[in-house]
């Protein structure tokens, strides 16, 4: 091999090592630097389920994947081009999924007897002696080299080894022509107060970079800037974007944010993120359970705040009674479900789209409410803003579906400026003149939305509750026809939310195509890649992705019915598909994966091609 430079349109790197190896840090630094370098990108971390699973074992492997390139990047990538393996377990877990011709960077110190055994290799097995020959290997004794680089620092061995991740990162920066400065800045911010540690980290990073420089016969890669639409960008994870969307909605509606939550993976980070922004007047309430969280949020909503609660899996089950109350009271409330693998406690750290039907139907009584789904980490911002808008302007609880993949994944985000965000206008009641007529809290405007009268407003005193209420007055009513009227009014009010939607747009393709792939949630990227590839090959495949799942857009039936074939890929056993079949009587087919991990574009392409050829 010669020292050659190869230009690539995109690359997928998978960092893997023990939970204690600093994989997430290395991954996020690589991401940050790559973002600043102007590539499009998408990332996805993969944590072990245990806090700290036993060291050196496959169960304890922590992973971080980044897909970046000069072309549009839609997913964190399927099979990686590059695997960084800090030990044998990381190697064992991931080597099988590497692309043919891929590159492996590994720390040979992580392949000693002990590590091989912990990784589950037999005493006779020697993975490095039996390397697949279609791959290219950089076998580096990172541990040793790194210790040497830090030999004169006043640090114990353990502490030295802690910066092994930066050595590898430096090496990758060399391979991919990335600047060191962003990470050096980060290290300064983080370790300024611990000069020796700071120095060690800097040295490791540089040593890794230097190592790349000194070994010969190395292919380096160049990935040109992506042609992103002009604007200001930052990198963002779904949970952060979602939190920012809520804060933005608070600012643009003039309603302080009240967030109530009970910790649960993978929703907890929303609580963590929001609790850092109390300067926005945003209160975070860590409740005793999910029931207290949602009912406290209802209390705050009654008090006039933008009330939000987020949870996952079992927590969502507990919130359903509260949801019914909010719906009956017709108070604004955003309930975020960061879905994870189910049922029951299920697979807490894995991703799944299996709570859609629960969101649509999981309450006693006739209780329709708007359901939205975010489709990418950055899209969590817009979707949260939109959920808050609908809740506040239509006086209704709204369910926002995210998932573990969106929550922890990241991508560049062209963030908006404040003015680009439309003001949100909740139907606040005007102060009443002090006459004696009792206030009618359930009078409605033309969108069937009632007013929001807040405790503290004189003359608007009124009582709300979970019993059926009389039209307009809101008094308790057991009258049969009144009940039917109210059930229908609540349903129609929700239907009218669809009046605000823009016309439904296909993501790709046109009405003339033969096969429509309909998705929702985080599968947007994988479907996009699959459809793009098929279209490039001339297949008549179009893509539609739903953000507003309930109420459905008014132009949806016509659109769906115009396609001879419909494929609905979902990370569940089929949920959206049942809504489409039921409501629009289309013979849609499902493609279902229930493995706690996202689709590969290939899987979607294969199925779509099969359908086209069956035709």
């Amino acid at each position: 091999m010669s020292d050659q430079i190869q230009t690539l349109p995109k690359v997928t790197i998978h960092f893997a090592g023990d939970s204690g190896d600093g994989i997430q840090l290395a991954g996020s630094q690589f991401t940050n630097t790559t973002a600043l370098a102007g590539n499009d990108l998408s990332t996805f971390p993969d944590f072990p389920a245990e806090i700290r699973a036993p060291m050196g074992t496959v169960a304890g492997v922590s992973g971080f994947q980044i897909n970046f390139g000069s072309e549009a990047i839609e997913t964190p990538g399927g099979r990686p081009d590059v695997l960084v393996a800090m030990n044998a377990a990381a190697y064992r877990k991931n080597i099988g999924s590497l692309k043919s011709g891929g590159v492996v960077v590994l720390d040979t110190a992580g392949f000693d007897k002990r590590n091989l055994k912990l990784a589950g290799y037999g005493p006779e097995e020697s993975p490095l002696a039996q390397k697949p020959d279609h791959l290219q290997f950089y076998e580096i004794d990172v541990t040793k080299l790194n210790r040497e680089a830090l030999s004169d620092l006043d640090l114990g061995r353990k502490e030295r080894d802690r910066s092994r991740n930066l050595f590898v990162l430096g090496f990758l920066y060399f391979l991919y022509h990335r600047p060191l400065q962003p990470t050096l800045d980060f290290l300064r911010d983080k370790f300024e107060s611990q000069p020796v540690v700071w120095e060690a980290n800097k040295r490791s990073l540089r040593a890794g970079h230097h190592y790349g420089d000194t070994i010969e016969a190395l292919t380096r890669y160049r990935i040109e800037k992506a042609e992103l639409p002009p604007g200001e960008y930052r990198n963002v994870t779904g949970n952060v974007a979602l939190s920012l969307g809520l804060l933005a909605a608070s600012v643009r509606s003039g309603r302080s944010l009240f967030y109530a939550g009970y910790p649960i993976t993978p929703a907890s980070d929303i609580l963590h993120e929001l609790s850092r922004h109390k300067n926005y007047g945003a209160q975070t309430f860590q409740a005793e359970d999910e029931i207290a969280a949602i009912t406290a949020a209802i209390g705050a909503s009654f008090g006039g705040q933008l009330a939000v609660t987020a949870t996952s899996g079992p927590g969502m089950a507990l919130k359903t009674e509260g949801l019914g109350l909010a719906l009956m009271l017709e108070l604004p409330l955003v309930v975020v479900n960061v879905q994870r693998g189910g049922p029951s406690t299920g697979l807490p750290t894995k991703t799944e789209q299996s709570d859609l039907q629960q969101a649509l139907y999981g309450r006693n009584g006739e209780s329709p409410l708007p359901v939205l789904a975010a489709s990418s980490p950055a899209d969590c911002f817009q979707t949260a803003f939109e959920a808050a808008r609908i809740a506040l302007e239509h006086m209704t609880p709204v369910i926002l579906l995210s998932d573990g993949y969106l929550a922890n994944g990241s991508e560049p985000w062209r963030f908006p400026s404040t003015e680009q965000l439309n003001p949100i206008q909740p139907p606040l009641a005007a102060n009443a003149p002090h006459d004696k007529t009792p206030y009618r809290p359930y009078q409605r405007d033309e969108r069937l939305v009632r007013e929001w009268a807040l405790p503290g407003q004189a003359g608007l005193e009124h009582r709300v509750g979970g019993l059926e209420k009389e039209v307009e007055t809101g008094h308790v009513s057991y009258h049969p026809e009144n009940h039917e009227t109210m059930v229908r009014l609540r349903a129609q009010k929700v239907q009218k939310v669809a009046h605000d939607y823009p016309a439904t747009q296909l993501v790709q393709g046109s009405k003339d195509d033969k096969l429509l792939i309909v998705g929702w949630g985080h599968t947007l990227g994988a479907i996009k890649v699959a459809v793009r590839r098929m279209r490039e090959k001339g297949h008549p495949v179009a893509q539609l992705h739903l953000k507003h799942i309930w109420p459905p857009a008014q132009d949806l039936p016509a659109l769906l019915q115009s396609f001879p074939q419909i494929l609905v890929p979902e990370l569940n056993d089929g949920q959206l598909i049942h809504l489409l079949r039921d409501r629009f009587l289309v013979a849609a087919q499902g493609l279902n994966k229930i493995q706690g991990r996202p689709f590969l574009a290939d899987e979607i392409e294969d199925e779509a091609l099969k359908m086209l050829s069956n035709d």
Binding site: E232, Y233, Q283, T295, A296, A307
Partner: protein, 336 residues
């Protein structure tokens, strides 16, 4: 919030236009009417008062008050009230709950409300029965009670609501009853004046499903011998001055004042003494007088105040809100 011109209210200003639908003779009526009498004395603008309840006969209360109100879901009123108080600390919030609502399904929220010390007033209407669902035993019913759901007698050892509240670090604990309007009003007033969660157990007669449960505490002839009216700084005497309580070691002892025992030896009521409060809560047996009035009171920071302080501190530490810079974050770049 609107500034309301100072108003002088009458009791009927607090009565809503809704027909009261408790059973004739229900103890809830008396509590409602004392509440409507007390509020004008407290001088709080009507629009700043909110009644929050769960589900149960007692929880219908908010419908009858001409204030803001929410009849929420079973057992969750303490959580609703917490959110509401945090949203608007200026409100005077009253949680109305029952022995089922507050101690069966809602026991946990109640306990957490108490330890957090949110400045709301909790009135637990204890009728020792599930009224609304037509008469099953409740967590305060005596063991062995015969009800629809316990035709052979209930098995459950009951909660002692005051001990439960003290064990949950309540900062204000009191007991009163439906049949003593004056006492009831005094306790309500003290509860509102306390900063922090005020827990008030109200003995309430359910004349349909558990009539007479508290008769010995309300009946003209019996009540003197069976109740102990607490007055801070005063010795514990009852039975019209005939008997008193003293503390023998760590145990309360009933003494006959006629038999030469002196008032000076008696236990002096001190609502700030947690141990005495605990002992008072344990006066729960048949041959002990039941303590009525303020059992315990402690000054402690309120939750919503701490929350407000933190918002302010955040503005100081982090700076004023600036959405554009928040969205931009620390590492942004420009594509042109």
């Amino acid at each position: 919030m609107t500034e309301t011109p100072p108003t002088t209210y009458k009791a009927k200003d607090f009565s809503s236009d809704q027909e009261v639908k408790w059973c004739p003779g229900c103890g809830d009526y008396s509590i409602l009417s004392q509440m409507q009498k007390v509020l004008p004395e407290l001088g709080i603008a009507r629009e700043n008062i909110v009644f929050v309840s769960g589900i149960g006969c007692s929880s219908r209360f908010p419908y009858y008050m001409n204030t803001y109100g929410m009849h929420s879901i079973h057992g969750r009123a303490p959580a609703v009230a917490t959110g509401l108080k945090m949203a608007n600390p200026d409100l005077s919030i009253w949680v109305i709950t029952g022995d089922g609502d507050g101690l069966s399904i809602g026991g946990n929220h109640l306990a957490h409300l108490l330890r957090r010390n949110v400045d709301v007033n909790v009135l637990l209407f204890n009728n020792e029965i599930y009224g609304l669902t037509k008469g099953q035993y409740s967590p305060t019913s005596e063991q062995g009670k015969y009800t629809k759901s316990s035709p052979l007698g209930s098995l459950d050892h009951p909660f002692n609501p005051l001990s439960f509240a003290l064990g949950s670090d309540a900062s204000f604990v009191a007991r009163t009853l439906d049949r003593d309007p004056t006492h009831l009003r005094e306790v309500l007033q003290a509860a509102e004046q306390h900063r922090g969660t005020s827990f008030v157990e109200v003995y309430q007669n359910c004349n349909v499903f558990n009539d007479g449960a508290f008769q010995i505490f309300t009946d003209k002839k019996q009540k003197a011998a069976h109740t102990l009216s607490l007055l801070p700084g005063e010795p514990l005497v009852f039975d019209e001055g005939r008997k008193g309580l003293k503390i023998n070691g760590l145990k309360p002892e009933i003494v006959d004042l006629a038999e030469g025992n002196s008032l000076n030896d008696l236990w002096i009521h001190d609502p700030e003494d947690p141990t005495k409060a605990y002992l008072l809560s344990r006066l729960f047996g048949e041959d002990e007088p039941r303590a009525l009035g303020l059992i315990y009171q402690e000054e402690r920071f309120t939750y919503e105040q701490a929350a407000q302080n933190q918002l302010e501190k955040a503005r100081e530490v982090i700076g004023p809100p600036d959405l554009d810079s928040l969205l931009r974050g620390k590492h942004s770049w420009t594509v042109s």
